[in-house]
């Protein structure tokens, strides 16, 4: 028994969103001239020539951004019920959530100090 409300809109959105790529590709397939010449197979037609392969090994330092992102993503999950029920919870919950965020800001400050957030 499905009791959640408002999800018929989600279903509609999924339907429309799944139609968009099909319609776009079909329309361009109907409208475009027949492909010809080697230029059509380049990555960026009339753009810069790409250098090297697209499948390269990434630098390890980019992994750190992903790690920090995962931590703050999990934090978002914990703050989500607080944000939804904000009106019902009152001032005390606001202070408690501030403590929760404050502890994690320490981690952000640490990451910043250690240069984990620098692209260079």
């Amino acid at each position: 028994m499905f009791v959640l409300s408002g999800y018929e809109y989600l279903l509609g959105f999924i339907f429309v969103a799944s139609l968009v790529p099909v319609l776009a590709l079909t329309a361009s397939w109907l409208l475009r001239p027949a492909p010809s010449g080697p230029e059509r197979r380049t990555t960026y037609e009339s753009g810069m020539e790409p250098i090297g392969g697209a499948w390269i090994q990434f630098n390890i330092r980019y992994y750190m951004f992903a790690l920090v992102f995962v931590i703050f993503d999990v934090e978002t999950v914990f703050l989500y019920p607080w944000a939804v029920a904000f009106n019902r919870l009152g001032l005390l919950a606001f202070v408690e959530a501030l403590i929760f965020i404050g502890i994690l800001v320490v981690g952000l400050a640490y990451a910043w100090r250690k240069g984990a957030l620098e692209w260079s």
Binding site: Q57, I71, V74, W82, R88, A93, F100, I101, L104, G107
Partner: protein
């Protein structure tokens, strides 16, 4: 069967087919990057199934954490190790396949018997539905407050641990400095030199 139940059934069938197909493709795809992207499809279909089970918060968490973060982490891990190397074929590869099949089949049988023998009937109280997330929020800030705050300490520990572990690899030793032949992007050598200078000064 009214319209809502029909839509529900069709959604369930579509999600199940999508999940099983994507999961099979994850295992069978020869390209590991495609496997990682298809894993995102598996996670998304699982989120849809959670929604059908009236668990909207679990579905949101599934999308946020698994599709948004874990899958990105897996992709990053793949891109870190994604070097095209000519691996020599292993001798007796078929024994490994047999062992893997036995382990996977045993796990499947174990989970299958668990699913069959577990009584799944839940009590007849109505599902919380839209109220569930409010109830969760109220529990977080009343009787589950201490675990909630401890979670932030746990996340802090995970963050600092991740930074400590990940930073260690940036500083190049003399033993594992990447040779010039391995570098393909023009900006890479400059990065490594600057990282090495940072590591020595700090």
């Amino acid at each position: 069967m009214n319209l809502a139940e029909g839509v529900q059934l069709v959604s369930f069938i579509i999600l199940t087919v999508m999940m099983l197909g994507a999961a099979l493709a994850v295992v069978l795809s020869p390209n590991i990057v495609y496997s990682a992207f298809l894993l995102g499809g598996v996670f998304s279909a699982m989120a849809g199934l959670y929604l059908l089970l009236n668990a909207s918060f679990v579905a949101a968490a599934q999308i946020l954490v698994y599709v948004g973060a874990i899958n990105v982490l897996i992709l990053f891990a793949i891109m870190l190790v994604n070097k095209r190397e000519d691996f020599a074929p292993v001798k007796y590869a078929w024994t490994r396949k047999i062992v893997t099949a036995a382990v996977c089949g045993g796990l499947f049988l174990l989970l299958g018997t668990t699913i069959i023998t577990t009584p799944w009937a839940i009590d007849s109280t109505a599902a919380a539905g839209d109220e569930a997330i409010y109830i969760l929020g109220e529990h977080f800030f009343t009787d589950f407050l201490l675990p909630f705050e401890l979670v932030s300490v746990l996340l802090l520990m995970a963050l600092i641990g991740a930074i400590v572990l990940a930073r260690r690899d940036i500083i190049p030793d003399s033993s594992n400095v990447v040779g010039q032949d391995d570098l393909k992007l023009p900006e890479k050598p400059r990065e490594l030199v600057s990282a090495g200078a940072d590591g020595e000064s700090s």
